[in-house]
């Protein structure tokens, strides 16, 4: 792609990204949404986060991998257990990374 094309992508990407982020804050405030839709706002965080995480853990290479050599999945399950028990971000990430590195070292 030409230099001009790249800048078109950057400026266009800036615009459309801001539009998604500003949409309900600036253009269509949530107060004006019907109550049924508003009651869904509290589920946005768990739903989107789960939709990001599940493929990353279950399909690390693009295909479903439920085997014991899927270290992402095993580290993720360990992190989940720690998060449920201790509700602490640092600890969750540290344990998850430690499990991932340990499995990689043992398996390699």
């Amino acid at each position: 792609m030409s230099v001009g094309g790249v800048w078109l992508v950057i400026l266009g990407g800036m615009l459309v990204t801001f539009v998604t982020r500003f949409s309900f804050i600036g253009l269509l405030p949530a107060e004006r949404l019907p109550p049924l839709l508003r009651s869904g706002l509290g589920f946005v965080a768990p739903a989107v986060l789960a939709a990001i995480i599940a493929p990353a853990l279950l399909l690390p290479a693009g295909v479903l991998d439920l085997s014991l050599s899927n270290y992402q999945l095993l580290a993720g399950l360990a992190a989940m257990a720690i998060a449920v028990r201790f509700r602490n971000l640092w600890l969750t990430i540290a344990v998850g990374l430690a499990v991932f590195w340990m499995l990689s070292a043992l398996g390699a």
Binding site: V9, R21, G42, P46, A51, I52, I53, F100
Partner: protein, 253 residues
């Protein structure tokens, strides 16, 4: 959660531990973003290095992070540059970032009283990480100065994303791939996911969204992600409404 509300008898409630000055809220917001940087910084490093490999100049590579400021969309866009026309790349960025509209809707009631000079920067900084941390903050009882918290958490992420992109551009091909640090990002999201779940409808919303995202993974332009998220939200709404009816509707959640 125990709450002590004694309106008329107590003279003046003592300040809640999370209240305090705007500056303090700003700093606490920044501090609460720090663990997430473990996932974001490697991601930024890899983006900087990858953008150069894709043939971008250092300035345009950094401009992606400064102006678009959306990690996964940036990766996908850079990957498309050599083969797709600019319009299609921009359309893809839009679709990949549609989930931000859900964050925007979710944050909107909390900041609707603020002037535009607050709404524009807070919208600009509305990433996955900033939203997830801010959403936890808005559950606390005292939220008068929480926009300072949200600003602090968003700016911290923005600064880390710029610095790590710049470092990735500097290091170029010397960014090590073997550290397995790309696993840190899903781990930070796992921690946020668990903290964001408070009740059974939220558990069901997460399970349905996660399952649907796996099934729909093959859809183009990451449409599976936004479809799965909307499905999860819908399941949460339905279960919550049922629950409200079963409890004969007096707890008004």
């Amino acid at each position: 959660m125990p709450r002590v509300d004694e309106p008329s008898t107590a003279p003046q409630a003592p300040p809640l531990p999370d209240a305090g000055s705007a500056a303090r809220q700003f700093l606490v917001g920044g501090r609460d973003q720090l663990p997430l940087l473990l996932g974001v910084i490697p991601f930024g490093l890899i983006f900087g290095a990858l953008a150069l490999q894709a043939g971008l100049t250092p300035v345009s590579a950094q401009a992606f992070s400064v102006l678009i400021f959306a990690g996964s969309a940036q990766f996908i866009a850079v990957g498309m540059l050599s083969s797709a026309p600019a319009g299609l790349v921009v359309a893809t960025i839009f679709v990949v970032n549609l989930r931000h509209a859900l964050y925007s809707a979710s944050l909107s009631p909390h900041i609707s009283h603020l002037p535009m000079r607050w709404k524009v920067p807070l919208a600009w900084l509305l990433t996955d990480e900033a939203f997830a941390v801010a959403a936890l903050r808005y559950r606390q009882p005292e939220v008068r100065l929480a926009h300072w918290y949200t600003l602090g958490t968003g700016l911290t992420l923005w600064a880390a994303w710029q610095a790590s992109t710049a470092l990735g551009i500097l290091l170029g091909a010397r960014v090590p791939e073997a550290w397995g640090l790309e696993v840190a990002l899903p781990l930070t999201f796992i921690a946020l996911l668990i903290l964001s779940i408070r009740d059974w409808p939220a558990v069901a919303a997460a399970l349905c969204a996660g399952g649907a995202a796996v099934v729909l993974h093959g859809l183009p332009f990451r449409l599976g992600l936004i479809s799965a998220a909307i499905l999860g939200v819908a399941v949460g709404v339905v279960l919550q409404a049922r629950r409200g009816r079963a409890a004969s509707g007096s707890d008004g959640a």
